[in-house]
């Protein structure tokens, strides 16, 4: 790697991590979300149209995990320049702007969701602009997003987690990582009765089964 020592500091930082566009040219036809085989599109057409639980999948989004120092103002400025929003520094909060959303995960960790096709471009911008010690990991293939809503959405979450979902302590925008049944999920409230669940790929079938089971008494409506 001796031939890179003449580059600038930022270029140097970029070359020291391997950045890779992980998407094929033919993204649309090849990609299979973790719940691809559940075929939500068909279920939305032929399944129940009324019920207390509504569920949809936001498949194939770009998931980027950022680790950096919340006290490093240069880093914070760089992030804001790239995403157009500042990192949420208050624990358990999130910010959203357009198609970008950022969730506080830990004092030095944030989960950024972007449109699937933009993941590599955002990652590259970080590699170009982000100073200091940080890590950025593309984890798009490792998880998927479920949107859960409806009159009984809170009850379903109560059956599945030990979190207090009362609006007075869990307002819109709050985000938690927690146990979901016997798996885990990162859950954000996007509206009074609407929640975003980010779940791990390998557990997706288990969680899908769990949600169907827990919805039985309310009725489950799949949305495409």
């Amino acid at each position: 790697m001796s031939d890179v020592t003449s580059t600038t500091k930022l270029e140097q930082a970029a070359t020291k991590a391997a950045v890779m566009n992980q998407l094929p040219a033919d993204k649309e036809s090849l990609g299979q979300s973790p719940l691809h085989h559940a075929d939500f599109a068909s279920a939305a057409k032929r399944g129940a149209q009324k019920g207390g639980i509504h569920l949809s999948e936001l498949a194939l989004l770009g998931h980027l995990t950022l680790r950096c120092d919340a006290g490093n103002l240069e880093q914070l400025a760089a992030v804001e320049a790239i995403l157009g929003v500042p990192l949420p520094l208050t624990p358990l909060t999130s910010v959203e702007k357009g198609a970008y959303s950022v969730r506080w995960m830990s004092p030095d960790e944030w989960l950024i969701l972007v449109p699937g096709l933009e993941a590599f471009s955002i990652e590259s911008q970080f590699r170009d602009a982000m100073p200091g010690h940080y890590s950025l990991v593309n984890s798009s293939g490792g998880s998927t997003v479920l949107m859960l809503s409806g009159d009984n959405a809170v009850e379903l979450l109560q059956k599945s987690t030990t979190i207090d979902w009362h609006l007075s302590v869990f307002p819109v925008g709050k985000v938690v990582s927690t146990l979901f049944a016997k798996s885990t999920a990162t859950i954000r409230r996007t509206d009074d009765q609407r929640f975003e669940l980010i779940i791990r790929r390998s557990f997706a079938d288990y969680i899908w089964l769990w949600i169907q089971d827990a919805s039985l008494e309310y009725g489950l409506v799949i949305e495409a």
Binding site: M1, Q32, R67, S183
Partner: protein
Amino acid sequence: MTQHNRLTSGGRIDRSTSMTFTYNGKSYQGYKGDTLASAMLANGIDVVARSFKYSRPRGIVAAGAEEPNAVLQLGATEATQVPNVRATQQELFNGLVSSSTNGWPSVDTDVMGMIGKIGGNMMPPGFYYKTFMFPESLWETYESMIRKAAGMGRAPRETDPDIYDSINQHCDVMVVGAGPAGLAAALTAARGGARVIIADEQNEFGGSLLNSSEPLDGKPAADWVHDVVQELRAFENVTLLPRSTVNGFHDHNFLTVHERRTDHLADIAPAKMVRQRMHRVRAKWVILATGAHERPLVYANNDVPGCMITGAVSAYINRYGVVPGNDLVVMTTNDYGYQAALDWAAAGRKVVAIVDTRSVANGDRVEAARQRGLTIITGSAVIEVQGSKRVTGVSVAALNASGTQIVGSVTKLKADTVASSGGWSPVIHLSCHTGSRPVWSDAVVGFLPGPTLQKQLTAGGINGQYETANALQEGLEAGQQALAKLGLPDVELVLPKVKTLNMAAPMSLFHVPHLKPTSQAPKQFVDYQTDVTAAGIEIACREGFEAIEHVKRYTAMGFGTDQGKLGNINGMAVAAKALNKTIPETGTTVFRPNYTPIAFGAIIGRNCGALFEPERYTAMHKWHVEQGALFEDVGQWKRPWYFPKAGETIQQTLNRECLAVRNAVGILDASTLGKIDIQGKDAREFLGRVYSNAWAKLPVGKCRYGLMCGEDGMVFDDGVTACLGENHFLMTTTTGGAAHVYEWLEIYHQTEWPELEVYFNTVTDHWSTATITGPNSRKLLEELTDGDVSNEAFRFMDWQQITVAGVPARVFRISFTGELSFEINVQANYGMAVWEKLIEAGKKHGLTPYGTETMHILRAEKGFIIAGQDTDGSVHPYDLGMGWCVSNQKPFSYIGKRGMNRSDCVRENRKQLVGLKTKNPKQVIPEGSAAVLDPNGVKPLSIEGHISSSYWSETLGRSIAMGFIKGGLDKMGESVFYPLADGTVIEAEICSPIFFDPKGERQNV
């Protein structure tokens, strides 16, 4: 049979809705609003059980959770059998099928009862311990006999068709009990703006108010209850849980509440409805308003059906319109007992006498009884009951002032019902669950909740406040206190007016003396459910058991499913008397969860069947299923085990899969391996500290195998780590070890070396991994890639970023089979697409999918270890013959280095991993077999080691094994023996564990 004990009016039952139920095969009628117990009493059913030890006939004693006898088996079908149901708590529904759980051939004609009569004295306390413990080997035989004789209920033999689940709740105030105190507390807290949950085990809120004829504000108490419930329902932040028993009060104000949602509707829950739900409540404050249980008195033959407690008599009359007999004798130590007589008389049946153990009786209820013209016999007690399947009469005699002796002659009265009251015991069970010991109160004549660390308030009966007015006032105050603690505004509540009754002091009496000494008197039962008598407790004390906990265990007092709710205090009083101590000196046992029995289903919730344990799938799982793979559980992952073709035995499949890899090319789904992305300028330093080998000079583009050890020097995980960039690595771990390794890295980073600039991120699920391995693997890869994968351009232990089947991939040229191999990693959303392309293109190259079993055989042929199979936490790298994977040149004392150099780790003759070749190549040594040097030596034989991996190798045409032998690395060529369970012995020769391609040439082509 008609409901001859049913009143024509009154009670909270709906006489227009008739319901049919069966008990022991006979059909009866009851009404909506009945409990099974009230319906049984209405029909004049006297005998509901045979007792545990003596098989005596037993009847209904109480009207609530404290009932010890009417513990029935429910269920119309085999699958819906439910044991341990208290008839007093089971609401009647049309078609209910019930039976008694003991008595053979029936409770009415019981053969065991003969033993109870003849052999009673042959069954002293400790009988089971004394008789059945020896010889121990026969215990299982004894146990089944005892269970049958004791009449425990039974679990269904078929799968329960109902759904049970659990739900998590949070609140500011959890109110336990919806009697006057609980309702007042909940209403106060709710009006103050608190988030409130109020639970009550009964179907209706109201508690004692429902059983009472006492008016509130001059109106029936039920009217006030109705208004309060209506107001509570209107609050958005109030949850009302009827039919919900708070069964456990756990640390940090966590409560488990068992809600029975459909048990009152039918034998099986209506479609899509949850039968029982466990509410797991975390409350900021808990208000216990659990009330009190009445204590019966202990007197001779007090278990004959027809002997009840006075509060139950009132409850059956006032709430259910059932008078459980014709001629009543009341025996009481207090004014409350008079109420049963007043209610009985009001129902138009005969009160034979009220026997008051006090010499003077003058409270308001006493006066009411006098005015009604009821016979009151003061200073006396019912000392014995006549009858067997129903009370026929009682013996009454005068007592001395302290109640310890009979002083007068005996009068016999005819009666079919005896209602006794020895006072009330606060229901303190929940307050004990987190270890708080109750405190005796002489004023209350009972135990009160002790000091606790929980955020707990108490109100009403649990504090010994049994008058409705006091209970209401305490409920209000508890609600206000909770509001104050929560920082919420205080509220005023106008309590309903209740007539305050003038009450005379109760007498402290538990055990009624008999003419004969206790040991010779007819049985005086303390604990009905476990058949413990006053004499039995006295014997236990005489035999030297002084601690109440020991008396409890020796006599089994309180060990029934009722936890001694009725009998415990009486038992303590009897023990105290026998030990010549006071009750507080004797002390009390404490109560543990659960308050009443719970169905296992309610504890398990939905974590059963397909949801019992998560199954983790790779992106290619569907393909494996479609190809008919059998799966192996590795942690929670489902990994293809092998891919049988029609007609193949498992060994034939494995042979085919192994040969395909050695001769053509195989494909393995390796996605489950743990993967950790590591970034930061100190990543390399960190790797050097957590792996035993060197990482300082690993260049970008290269991979290296590493062993991970604990501080004790023992190997716990292994894997290949690739250098992706100067400051960027991808670590792989074993499938089962991924979570542990991640936490291992984090704990050292967060607690020991926070100064190292490095971040770890789990990316296991992000990458899908298809491993193609075998001599044809390059040809296959070449067809699908734009990259140069020649041996010159892409060396062994290199990784490259190339495109495979149109998808960007990181390909690692590493090998776990010893063959030319490429591990193709793509973003998991594209895993299936690449896999299918590989399968398609691989057809002409003889591509064969294989599973974990073939993977194990192939690696064993090469002598590669599997962490967790060939390691067990007691072997270090040198034991494994892997000293090449240890670098002691590193400046930092890496994890494991010091441990590996402990004296025990460097001694001679440690067990070391070697290969083992059986003399007979066709024999495969079972894994786990123990090695000995001389199978014919003197027993016990000294164990020299064991087999950790053993397979049939089709490639080599013989068996192969890896195992541990003491000093094995120095014993090459020597023989060891493996005696098997069937008596045969396998001889094997110690050899190198590398059975195939010892120079490692095949992976380098």
